[in-house]
Symmetry: C2
Subunit: 97 residues, 2 copies
Amino acid sequence: MALSDPMRLRIIRSMVNQQGCMSCTEAAPCPNMAKSTLSNHFRVLREAGLIHTEKRGVEHRNIVRLDDVEARFPGLLKTILAFSDTEDKERWRAPPP
Amino acid sequence: MALSDPMRLRIIRSMVNQQGCMSCTEAAPCPNMAKSTLSNHFRVLREAGLIHTEKRGVEHRNIVRLDDVEARFPGLLKTILAFSDTEDKERWRAPPP
DNA sequence: TCAATAGTTCCATAATATCGAACAATTGAA
DNA sequence: TTCAATTGTTCGATATTATGGAACTATTGA
């Protein structure tokens, strides 16, 4: 699944929070991520129908297909995006059993 | 992340729908899944703090730690479980661009 | 005591994320 | 026009992870 990957989730999060188009570089989860890796994630997101990409000049403008995603996964984006990005590592650490 | 894997998601789904304890075999996503694979998924879920496992006789009884999960990921389980299992393949197929 | 059952552990294989290097396309400046 | 800079893509290699099979452990019941 396209949204299974933590990095792709962070990409989507960036784009939704921005409320508009972003270039691939702008939406990168971390500044030191390799261009090839980033490009691959955007390809997966595109092929999954989660984002739309439009070539504008030298860069690619990407936008989340909010309506389509909401239609297929009602409430999912809203729920996932409610978790702040910076706390993810903390959040995923297991509490004592 | 423990919930990133589709198989683990189906395991959790089984357990929540059952509203109680399930043995590892009972909660298996598919009947032909190898025992070792299943065991590994349960270990990941345990270590992530998503389920609690208790040895009872020859089998292990597992239960989803609903309160803990809800506290860490408000609304996540409810949202994810709203997607019926059998339609997942359809759902994850991309719509036309 | 012993066979059957339920999981675990270990090793090998397949799928996927990641990175670096080379490449293509577009823009803007010399 | 020509060329350097910018933005992504493609390709090959490596690391991580899911999967399956075989051997093992623990527990139950005959």
